[in-house]
């Protein structure tokens, strides 16, 4: 259904506009309009996911189609990989918005919040659908500018400072990306990703593209907060309102960071061994350091933010291992396993990290603190928050039968079969460290005896917040079904194929 593709960007953009326009006139307009718009998007995304299968469809914006093999206009492309991202974005977006209905009441200017929320969704949908480098950059900027504003939404001292830091580093990243896009255009005279690939195959000058790739790794590495580029993430993600933290950690760093990196390195550039090793090393380093720093945190949301860095490290490392194996040309099934594991972990991380930030938001909503030392004994007074956060914690630290166990298992099996014994050991070790700091979270927040008697009168959070948490917790369990080979085959295989047969993207889209 290629007529649906532009609606993924158009619906949230129009809703943002309408919400800004009408929320002052009609009381409570934003409170019912934004959830309806996002529900539409979610239904459409799931519909596309169910119908797409192995095929890929493209939509020519403005009717400018391919003439004589030259793509003139802008294209939006939906294939197995982008449809998965699209579903996660709209799913987590919808759940976080439902959660916001109660959570955001303590802030003023609610209308602006919902409008920015719609803009962030529009930008991310645009990034994953875009088949054109510059268009991708524009949508990326739409979503990150909205996220700058949302990080500063509380307008307290820390929020503003975090947002300023985020903007300076984000602006730097955008410039590196723009420069890289300009250089690619210089060499190939085209911006269409599929066309760039086919031009590159005819004449590939390796030193030039290595430079471009390094620019792209730094640019999108900054957006994805891979370790040497991570400085903004713990501040920004912990200062934002909690549903926004869930969006930022759950999907934004994946949609504008990891997704684009993987899409460009698999479907645009020709693989090179050096770059694959660099990506794997960056992933492994962020996995390790993120987990070790998270262990030392006492601020709950900062701990979760560092844990995001660590989990993104798993994903990047898995894709990097896949790249190395593909370059070597042997062990292709192992490469597919590594890529599948990375993809599976990407989906899982969106769900459980979203849930954990919503839990943190629930605690902050009732206690007005994020300090783990000031909590304690909350499992009896907040049973829903306690049980859902327990499920999320077990799932992120890889305890069966939750989803995190299976995706980590896939990555570790792939690492062992691909003879990356060090990486396999590291992945297991980091998983244990993850368990340690989530047990710390569980113990200090929910199971310790509290010294403060006022904590006994805390009430459970309102319905819309507990509904979203329970929904995501059940999804954590349900996603472990993806480990069953036949389900995995049906749901993840199209995306793995897109990445494994990396030439196919350009040849099918150009109709060669």
């Amino acid at each position: 259904m290629d007529a649906l593709i532009p609606l993924f960007v158009a619906i949230p953009l129009i809703s943002a506009f309408l919400i800004m326009l009408l929320s002052k006139v009609i009381k409570g307009f934003h409170r019912f309009f934004a959830p309806i718009a996002l529900l539409c998007l979610l239904v459409m995304a799931i519909f596309e996911y169910a119908n797409l299968g192995q095929s890929s469809i493209q939509y020519a914006v403005g009717g400018w189609s391919i003439e004589n093999g030259y793509p003139i206009g802008i294209f939006m492309v939906l294939d197995g990989f982008s449809v998965i991202m699209l579903s996660i974005i709209n799913l987590i977006g919808f759940i976080a918005l439902i959660y916001s209905l109660s959570y955001i009441r303590k802030y003023t200017a609610e209308g602006n919040y919902y409008a920015l929320f719609c803009l962030i969704i529009a930008g991310m949908n645009g990034v994953v659908l875009s088949g054109d480098l510059f268009n991708l950059f524009v949508f990326l900027e739409v979503s990150v500018i909205a996220s700058y504003a949302l990080v500063a939404f509380g307008v307290g001292k820390t929020e503003l400072e975090a947002s300023f830091k985020y903007q300076v580093l984000g602006g730097l990243a955008s410039m590196l990306i723009l420069l890289a896009i300009g250089l690619i255009y210089w060499k190939t005279k085209t911006l269409n990703i599929a066309d760039v690939r086919s031009v590159m195959e005819s004449g590939y000058s390796k030193p030039f593209y290595i430079f471009v790739q390094v620019l792209l790794i730094s640019g999108f590495g900054l957006k994805a907060a891979i370790i040497p580029f991570h400085a903004w993430l713990p501040d920004a993600h912990s200062s934002a309102p909690s549903p926004i933290s869930a969006m930022l950690s759950g999907v934004l760093i994946k949609a504008v960071g990891v997704y684009v990196l993987i899409r460009l390195f698999f479907n645009l550039f020709v693989f090179s061994h050096e770059i694959a090793v660099v990506i794997t090393a960056l992933g492994a380093i962020s996995m390790l350091i993120g987990a070790l720093v998270a262990l030392m945190q006492w601020d709950l949301k900062r701990m979760l933010a560092y844990s995001s860095i660590s989990q993104i490290g798993y994903v990047v490392m898995a894709f990097g291992m896949g790249m190395i194996l593909i370059v070597r040309g042997d062990h292709l099934p192992v490469a597919a396993l590594a890529i599948g594991g990375g993809l599976y972990h990407l989906v899982n991380h969106a769900v459980f990290k979203g849930l954990l930030f919503l839990n943190a938001g629930a605690l902050e909503h009732r206690l007005d603190t994020r300090d783990l030392k000031k909590m304690g004994g909350l499992s009896s007074v907040m049973p829903i928050t306690s049980s859902t956060s327990f499920m999320a914690s077990m799932s992120i630290s890889g305890i069966p039968p939750f989803n995190g166990f299976f995706s980590k298992l896939f990555i570790i099996i792939a690492a062992i079969n691909g003879k990356f014994y060090l990486l396999a050991a590291l992945a297991v070790g980091v998983s244990i460290v993850t368990l340690a700091y989530f047990l710390k979270f569980q113990r200090f927040a929910f199971f310790n005896k509290s010294s403060d008697p006022s904590l006994n009168h805390i009430k459970e959070v309102p319905f819309s917040m507990s509904f979203s948490m329970v929904f995501l917790a059940l999804l954590c369990l349900a996603l472990s079904l993806l480990a069953i080979p036949s389900v995995n085959e049906a749901l993840l295989q199209p995306a793995i194929d897109v990445l494994m047969q990396s030439d196919l993207y350009s040849t099918t889209l150009l109709g060669l």
């Binding site: 510059f134 950059f137 524009v138 700058y148 400072e161 730097l172 410039m175 723009l178 420069l179 255009y185």
Partner: protein, 112 residues
């Protein structure tokens, strides 16, 4: 070649400013300088020696035109740059109201 080197120098000037300045506004200005050096590079990419503005004239078939696509890209990028600068300024002003200073040495609650 000289113009490309000058663009790169401009980029480094901006980078130096972002890294060393202590004033929020000066950091924002340095970011803008970096941004504009990138825009200049983009325009240079589209420039063709002795080319004129790409308005096709059927009477002169041998005329050389410059590449219009990077120009369109730069226009879009300038608009995006405007949005980011406005956002940065808005945050800087809010920070000034909270702290009564633009000095980043005094605005340090958070540490990476």
């Amino acid at each position: 070649m000289t113009v490309y080197i000058l663009c790169f120098v401009l980029f480094l000037v901006g980078l130096y400013g972002v890294l060393t300045r202590r004033n929020l506004i000066k950091i924002a200005i340095s970011l803008s300088i970096m941004e504009f050096s990138i825009f200049l590079i983009l325009v240079l990419i589209g420039y063709i020696e002795n080319g004129i503005a790409p308005i096709l004239d059927p009477g002169r078939a041998d005329q050389v035109y410059v590449d219009p696509l990077p120009q369109a890209m730069v226009l879009t990028a300038i608009v995006i740059g405007l949005a980011t600068t406005a956002m940065l300024m808005a945050i800087a002003i809010r920070l000034y109201r909270k702290y009564k200073t633009f000095d980043i040495r005094e605005i340090r609650n958070l540490r990476g």
